[in-house]
Amino acid sequence: MTTSSATVAPERAPRRRRGGSAHGKARHWGPGLLLLSPSLVLLAVFVYGLIGWTMKLSVSDQHNALPSQGFVGLKNFTALFTDDINDRFVHSLKNLLIFTVVFMVGALVMGVLWALLLERGIPGEGVFRAIYLFPMAVSFVASGVVWRWLMNSGTGDQAGGLNRIFADLHLGFLENPWWTDPHWGMAAMAVPAIWQLAGYVMALFLAGFRGIPAELREAAQMDGATTYRLYRHVLFPQLTPTALSVLIILGHMSMKMFDLIMSVSGAQWITEVPAVYVWQTLLTSDYAKAAAISIVLLLLVAIVIVPYLIYNNRVERRS
């Protein structure tokens, strides 16, 4: 990308002039388009085509295996918020919110903390980096199964996993119901996710720190800035793009979270999030409702992703 931009830039000016021969133009972008076209067609059919199909389904009334009876407008969407038994959909959104907040804050705090420590140049940095990054290599399903055992909600004689460890260490007051807590269970569900991704956040921030020219630090130190002020006013402001990327990456992962929850708790009320609800609804052949939830989920992710893409485009154009 970077090497080609240098050669492309001078060509741009003549191309902007009107009246260049159509043949010449086609020769310019024809081969590229030809090479891209299979992937474009596949994307058009399997991504955008299917999104379109899902949208169509979400405004139909196909609530069972029978063929659709017709168009019902936004009824499926309003029903999700007003007419769902036990307010199940709102409940799943609430669960998702708790999960997302705890997961993002937790992963960010841990990641930044580790990055700071490693950035200060402690001995054996490479080893620590590998240790922290390693959980990311494990799939959510595999770690979910292990965390399912660790976060066993039994207490007292029936305690297992972490509760057992707490009990054996005479820290019985720390024993808790983990994800089975009706109000804050989703916070416990975020723990495995934090464990897996904090190392990744660390790696991103470490790269960010390393990308800051040493001259800036030296200049700040020459001017007599304290370590706190150095970080607060010189280093952290330069990490804004990193922080934004981290938030976007964690945010969209969190909203689509499915595999971790399915392997820790299985599909059930206490830990239900929209992605799991879609799955449950599909199993009962309620296609229109499943499609409506999917579209809401897509919109939620779009709210996070689209501003980022716009911002990114602007930054790229500027450079």
Binding site: I85, T180, W269, T281, L283
Partner: protein, 421 residues
């Protein structure tokens, strides 16, 4: 964006391969011989596969002019198979016959006009007199019967650890709810932490239905599912309260448990009782645990809460005559014996010879002849799939917050939403 060329070529290659394979399978089914009977099930391993094999052996003697084609789709306790089936039915490419839970779970197929009425075949094959009248009533939708059950399971069975009961001085399982509560108190006083082992949502629903049968009686309970009994009545409130009280004797981590985890509490002597379907007998036998007792749930008296697998004749089946021969074999005494002795369930027919079966099944068969059959929602005989999902979710919520009013409201709303569809 560097990936595009190679990835695109690879993707295009895959797309071509997919298209080719789709064409391939299309032409394959076109060239099918008219003697084939494709039987679509999710019985791919274990006792279920053994049962199917037994049935196929019988089919080969009874219907030697036809070929059995196994259309089993494995995985997900049937959920994979149901997805495949739904798309085949939508495309008008049904298998010659498919497996479905007997009863209300068939509603969707009936409403969609996807399966044929078998009432006249029932008369012709004498099934209307071989099956108990209560079962025939449950299977009949608007005067028509659409499926032939291959086996019967019982849902409302209370399993116990005999040693734990004996240590607490309990000599016989309770027969009424109040007596059951007294026993649970005794067990608790004797230091049994979990007198009653329970698992997650659908197992909770099974326990709740058993309490409903005790509090409402068999007829009113059946009425809950066909609209004759109201979900908002005070008797249902009473049942929910009784059920809540029962949950108080159960393991707090129930939502993390599957039925086999709850079963393990009983096997390990940590729990005294567990309510579960009678597939537990086969499972306990397989696991080599001999010290178990069984009885009907206290207060259920003569109610036999049944669930059954069944087979249907889809509209547009390529080999309808072959399917009828399969269904006839399935309903025959020989066919039911071949299947059930291997699967660990009991035959739907009342004229089966119980000497062919193990001890638990003999007792169940004796009850099946005289008891009142009542349906079960989590196992598809009482309600459609959508209704099952709504009820399981409501039970999961109740397990975490114990809100009696919310549960009753949710159950009533679910009945209103799904009953007439």
């Amino acid at each position: 964006m560097r990936f595009s060329k190679r990835a695109a070529v690879a993707a295009a290659g895959i797309a071509v391969a997919l298209a080719a394979s789709a064409c391939g399978s299309g032409s394959g089914s076109g060239g099918k011989s008219s003697k084939d009977v494709e039987v679509f099930t999710w019985w791919a391993d274990g006792g279920e596969k053994a049962g199917l094999d037994g049935l196929v052996a019988q089919f080969k003697t009874d219907c030697s002019q036809y070929n059995f084609v196994n259309g089993a789709v494995a995985g997900g306790a049937g959920s994979n198979a149901k997805q495949v089936l739904a798309s085949r039915l939508q495309q008008g490419q049904p298998p010659d016959t498919f497996q479905a839970h007997a009863g209300a779970e068939l509603t969707d197929y009936i409403n969609a006009g996807q399966i044929e009425d078998l009432s006249s075949e029932y008369k012709q094959w004498g099934l209307d007199s071989a099956f108990p009248k209560g079962l025939i009533d449950n299977l009949t939708v608007n005067g028509k019967i659409y499926s032939v059950p291959s086996n019967i399971h019982r849902a409302n069975v209370l399993w116990s650890n005999k040693t734990v009961l004996a240590n607490a001085g309990i000599t016989a399982p309770a027969t009424t709810l109040p007596e059951f509560f007294t026993q649970l108190d005794t067990l608790k006083a004797k230091g049994v932490q979990t007198p009653l082992a329970v698992g997650k949502d659908w197992t909770q629903e099974m326990l709740f239905e058993a309490v409903l049968i005790s509090d409402l009686g068999a007829d009113k309970f059946t009425g809950l599912w066909n609209g004759k009994t109201s979900w908002t009545g005070s008797d249902v409130t009473q049942a929910i309260n009784d059920y809540k009280k029962l949950l108080g004797y159960s393991n707090k981590d129930r939502d993390t448990f599957d039925w086999t985890d709850a079963e393990k509490l009983v096997m390990d002597g940590k729990a005294a009782y567990q309510l579960m379907g009678d597939w537990e007998a086969a499972d306990l036998d397989t696991k080599g645990f001999k010290d178990y007792g069984y009885s009907v749930f206290p207060g259920n008296d003569k109610a036999y809460q049944w669930l059954a697998d069944s087979f249907v004749l889809p509209k547009g089946a390529k080999n309808a005559e072959g399917t009828k021969c399969w269904l006839k074999t399935l309903g025959s005494a020989a066919g039911q014996k071949a299947f059930n002795t291997k699967k660990g369930s009991i035959p739907a027919r009342t004229d089966a010879n119980s000497a062919d079966y193990p001890a638990y099944q003999q007792a169940a068969m004796a009850d099946w002849k005289v008891d009142t059959p009542v349906p079960s929602c989590p196992h598809g005989s009482a309600c459609s799939q959508g209704w099952q999902g709504a009820v399981a979710s409501a039970q999961g919520k109740f397990s975490s917050d114990g809100d009696v009013e919310a549960l009753q409201k949710a159950l009533a709303a679910a009945a209103q939403q799904y009953a007439k569809k």
